[in-house]
Symmetry: C2
Subunit: 307 residues, 2 copies
């Protein structure tokens, strides 16, 4: 899957992934009103609004970017109707030719991780049939439980030709509390980075492994270290834009050929219509606003990568 | 919620939580056959089998234990029908008077953790209405992202009178890979333990906080250290039985009054019917087998706690 992702990045010339993290406050009021009038102020109503909003967004930028990253928490908060829209969004993005990174941050002991891996990347055996479930292309995974919590994901990646991105250094302010602590003189995120490289060593395809790493845009100095430490690891970089990461800081996450990293923006794109800069002339223009924000982000990153 | 849990533990004299982690291989064939004949070998069929199995289990032991711990991965692997059964199981256990610990191991950056906290312990705002979602009593949480990933859970626990159990030292063989690494001469799990104690300090109720810790039964020496380091923290102890933890090792997880810990067993109870010792005379007896296994586990722990 990593080579499929790289091909799309090269084709779009955009190492950009759009985070489909639909807070209700990002959704234009006309969509909320329509959904609530049809379904009431219920989980079903919220889910319908999210679905229509997502559809408009994806239609607006699907030719510009290689991938989307739906954050499952934003769907899980609307219960079963929300999770049904998560699945519908995954399928719709696939129809539109997008690669889907399920931002699920799952991770548990072995037998439980095996269930998560089946749920998100593989198939589950039911009697004599093996059934696909959520069926994303990549999933994000938490490393706190160590190798035996990761192995079931590696097994499924090998069988299904899919990939994972493992959290190394997250973009949030408190990420250093544990991740930066020194172990034998080196921060924990470096140890995790080394493990990520080793977990990926059996899943290599043309110079990159199916096991990527998550490293926040908000910590470019860490990105520089981990880029060198894990030369064959693709880096998923959250935290651009609304969380504070700037294009000019991100060069260090890329190799000299401009590959090796994929930068996520969520709010900055999907809620672009709320910014004065992108304010649309009619409420229906929220997709057009997102499209403009994608183009600006792509230009910003292009300048940074080859500066 | 922690005091409600303690009251039930005292009433049942059983510091036991049953892990409702339904693998299809644990479900008696007659239930699978019935479900598959009605729904086919589909996610719906699997979910129906899980639901009927769970109902029989819960009916068999609900008077003996204070709590259950459904592992959401085992439901998520069956997609939306599986997650519908997760919710149905949570509600059914509540009807039967059980406390429900959602073993979800969620954890993310602040705004995302807020969505998970709403989904599992709180309510989500939809227009003018605030809707409960999965509505467990406790949830398990991963600490890797640090305080700002935990804070939204603390906020919801404060508002709703609920609780969390944060992973400190997990029961799996690889847990030491990161969790045991020394930082200033002390293992990471101790640092996490200290944070857990401090996260709970604002949510105290009669000597215990709403913020518990997960410490694996398979590492009693760690349990001893963490029991002393976090005197006001309730410890959820997975790994008893099938994973290798023995009652006689578990005394160290408890305070001298026999409180302070809750021991989980999953396979050892819910798949007890597969053990020769508990083999039922008819297939429908799987619940009775589970009941016997609960009684044996309770006796084993009772002996250990006060030995």
């Amino acid at each position: 899957m990593i080579q499929k992702l790289i091909k799309r990045i090269v084709k779009t010339d955009a190492p950009v992934v759009v985070g489909l993290d639909p807070m209700l406050s990002y959704i234009p009021p006309f969509l909320l009103e329509k959904a609530f009038s049809e379904q009431g102020e219920t989980l079903e109503g919220a889910a319908q609004a999210v679905w229509e909003y997502n559809k408009g967004l994806v239609d607006s930028f699907c030719d510009l970017v290689p991938a989307v990253k739906p954050q499952i928490a934003m769907y899980e908060q609307f219960g079963l109707p929300g999770l049904a829209v998560y699945k519908k969004t995954v399928d719709y993005c696939h129809e539109k030719g997008l690669i889907v990174i399920g931002d699920v941050k799952r991770g548990d002991i072995g037998s439980t991780s095996a269930a998560y891996a089946a749920a998100h990347l593989g198939r589950v055996q039911v009697g004599s049939r093996s059934c696909p479930v959520f069926d994303e292309d990549f999933a994000t995974v938490n490393p706190y439980l160590g190798t035996d919590g990761i192995q079931p994901f590696l097994d499924v990646c090998g069988q299904e030709g899919k990939g994972i991105f493992v959290l190394a250094k997250t973009s949030n302010p408190s990420s250093g509390e544990f991740q930066d602590r020194l172990i034998d003189g080196r921060p924990l995120y470096e140890l995790v980075g080394e493990k990520i490289a080793s977990w990926g060593s059996g899943l290599m395809e043309d110079g990159y492994s199916e096991v990527g790493a998550v490293v926040g845009a908000t910590y470019p100095e860490v990105g520089k270290v981990l880029r060198e430490l894990m030369p064959h690891t693709f880096i998923l970089v959250p935290g651009y834009g609304a969380q504070g990461g700037k294009g000019s800081d991100l060069k260090v996450f890329f190799h000299q050929d401009g590959l090796g990293a994929l930068v996520n923006s969520s709010r900055g794109i999907i809620a672009a219509w709320k910014q004065e800069k992108y304010a649309p002339s009619s409420p229906e223009g929220y997709g057009e606003a997102a499209r403009k924000a994608v183009l600006d982000m792509t230009a910003d990153l292009r300048a940074a990568r080859f500066s």
